[in-house]
């Protein structure tokens, strides 16, 4: 609201350990529905991976020296991590904030909004990790990838979850209703998936589009995940990590400011 100056709305996050019980709350809800949740999150990427992997794999024998399905595996891990984190902070966080008023209840206890939004972010990344582990498991069991560096995917998945969780929270902080999230998926998530090297190498794109795509967080996620899953060390590791971290920190900062304006006015 107008009475809070911008400076105070977008002040630095003030975090405490009290975000832990909020994270625990979300985990406890998830645990009650863990199996259907993991299977649900697994189904979509698996259908794409095996459907496209075998289907297009017949037409495209090899990309960069590996089979198409092995190429696709890293893209599927990254995009499904992105989707899982995004869904959580959009639909589920919005329910807790706006529909169930769970955040209001928590703020009456000695927990600040900063802790709640941070807990939602960390929880979205945690849930993305839980789903990501399941996908990695299938990929490794079917021998689709070189599993030499596969464990490095775990912190990477968590980081991707944080980046997209933070971006999604920005949407949630200004959303009037669930319908609003459709725009985010149609105008941002879906085009990004096509431009970030998930299904085909970004080098296929015109130079101008490639340049634009190199700003997208998903592109950097894929640049890290693909070599790792093919048993190689990625180039420009620090650059890619820095871009993902910047989206995470920047997104969280903006989301927190907008959420403060929405709830603490």
């Amino acid at each position: 609201m107008a009475t809070i100056p911008l400076r105070s709305t977008f002040r630095a996050p003030r975090l405490s350990r009290r975000f832990v019980p909020v994270w625990q709350r979300n985990f406890l809800v998830w645990r009650k529905l863990a199996l259907p949740s993991v299977l649900g999150n697994l189904a979509d990427p698996m259908i794409y991976l095996f459907g496209l992997g075998f289907g297009i794999g017949m037409l495209v024998p090899e990309i960069g020296g590996v089979s198409y399905i092995s190429f696709l595996a890293a893209g599927m891990v990254c995009s499904s991590t992105m989707n899982s984190a995004s869904f959580e902070v959009l639909y589920s966080s919005f329910s807790r904030m706006h529909v169930q008023r769970t955040w209001d209840a928590i703020m009456n206890a000695p927990v600040e909004l900063d802790d709640i939004v941070f807990a939602e972010l960390v929880w979205a990344a945690s849930k993305a990790l839980l789903s990501g582990v399941a996908i990695l498991g299938v990929i490794v069991v079917f021998g689709l990838v070189d599993s030499r560096y596969v464990l490095w995917l775990l912190p990477l998945i968590f980081l991707i979850g944080l980046s997209f969780g933070a971006l999604g929270l920005v949407m949630t902080s200004v959303a009037p209703s669930y319908d609003f999230f459709m725009y985010y998926f149609t105008l941002f998530i879906t085009p990004m998936t096509l431009l970030s090297g998930v299904f085909f190498p970004a080098e296929q794109l015109p130079a101008a589009v490639q340049a634009a795509a190199s700003l997208l967080p998903l592109a950097h996620a894929v640049e890290l995940a693909r070599p790792l899953l093919l048993g190689k060390l990625p180039d420009d590791i620090l650059l890619h990590l820095a871009v993902l971290a910047a989206y995470g920190v920047g997104g969280f900062w903006v989301a927190l400011g907008l959420t403060r304006r929405r709830l603490l006015g």
């Binding site: 406890l28 809800v29 009456n108």
Partner: protein, 326 residues
């Protein structure tokens, strides 16, 4: 006096909530326009006011959930909003809208909420049976929230607000939407709490609730406190002792085309009552001695009337008017 007794004396005198000159503006709209309030430990204080009077905003400011435009707040002795998080350790809140966790059972709701206060699971688990007993929900320990009635949800929300054993319990319209049985049970529990030393601050627009529960009350309208005191003091200070309500037909001589109680009031009420007003079909006469008016009314034909002691609702309507607040 030595330092120790002084410290104890300060503790005993410390107000659970002290508000001075509170203001809150949204753009040009001043929702709270200068409220002063000092709760005494162990009392039940009621904020009474029509919708939009600024009751909820005052509570939100007191809890540090929104930054006031002016004024000072001390909650549990700590400045708010600066140290609101710490202060809320000592406070329990029952919000206007139920916001229990629909994914959890009753017991899980209490456990999860206790964790927000930094309590460990063993401590909370040990408190759960007494909290459920207090709310009359022992048999609903493992029931889902969706299966509870409105009254049960309110009681569970009350139990949840007590999980940290607060010194001050704040309730925002705790019985709105409840049936009489459920309201009486909530009132009983609140009395039990104040008897055991918990300070209670509640908002309501139900007069009977305020009259029944409040040690002291304040009537709020348009962000200002219009009067403050015990229910008896407020009634005695603000209004005549007796009220006679007059309605029905009247066969006396009517002037200016009016009829019924209104015509009667215009012709005679001023002669008997210190103050009267006509609302719809009824004339309300406020007076200290009703006997002469009653004698007069007994002689009229067609009029019906009701005599009763003045109550808080009369004060409320006198101070805040009879216009609808939508």
């Amino acid at each position: 006096m030595t330092g120790v007794p002084a410290a104890i004396r300060d503790l005993a005198l410390a107000s659970p909530l002290e508000i001075r000159g509170l203001r809150k503006r949204y753009g040009d709209n001043e929702v709270v326009a200068g409220i002063d309030l000092r709760l005494r430990a162990g009392e039940c204080f009621t904020l009474l006011g029509p919708n939009g009077a600024g009751k909820t905003t005052t509570l939100r400011c007191a809890l540090g959930l929104t930054r006031p435009s002016g004024g000072e707040i001390l909650l549990a002795g700590l400045p708010v909003p600066e140290r609101a998080r710490e202060a809320r350790m000592r406070v329990g809140v029952v919000p206007q809208q139920d916001n229990l966790d629909p994914d959890f059972t009753c017991a899980e709701n209490l456990l999860v909420y206790g964790r927000y206060f930094g309590l460990d699971d063993a401590t909370i688990t040990a408190r759960i049976p007494e909290l459920l007993a207090f709310a009359g929900l022992e048999s609903k320990r493992d029931a889902r929230i969706q299966s509870l009635s409105g009254g049960m949800k309110r009681r569970l929300t009350l139990a949840r607000a007590l999980v940290n054993r607060p010194d001050l319990l704040i309730l925002d319209e705790p019985t709105t939407g409840l049936d009489p049985q459920a309201r009486h049970l909530i009132w009983e529990r609140l009395k039990q709490l104040t008897r055991n030393g918990t300070t209670v601050l509640l908002t309501t627009h139900f007069m009977d609730e305020a009259e029944r529960l409040a040690d002291r009350l304040a009537i709020l309208d348009a962000g200002r406190m219009l009067t403050e005191g015990s229910p008896r003091e407020v009634i005695a200070a603000q209004i005549e002792a007796q009220v006679v309500e007059v309605y029905g037909d009247w066969n006396g001589a009517a002037r200016n085309g009016t009829s019924g109680a209104q015509a009667w009031a215009e012709a005679h009420a001023g002669a008997f009552a210190r103050r009267y007003e006509v609302s719809g079909e009824t004339a309300f006469c406020y007076l200290d001695d009703a006997a002469p008016l009653m004698a007069h009314l007994a002689e009229q034909q067609g009029l019906r009337y009701l005599r009763r002691p003045a109550n808080l609702e009369d004060v409320f309507l006198k101070l805040t008017g009879r216009d609808l607040r939508d």
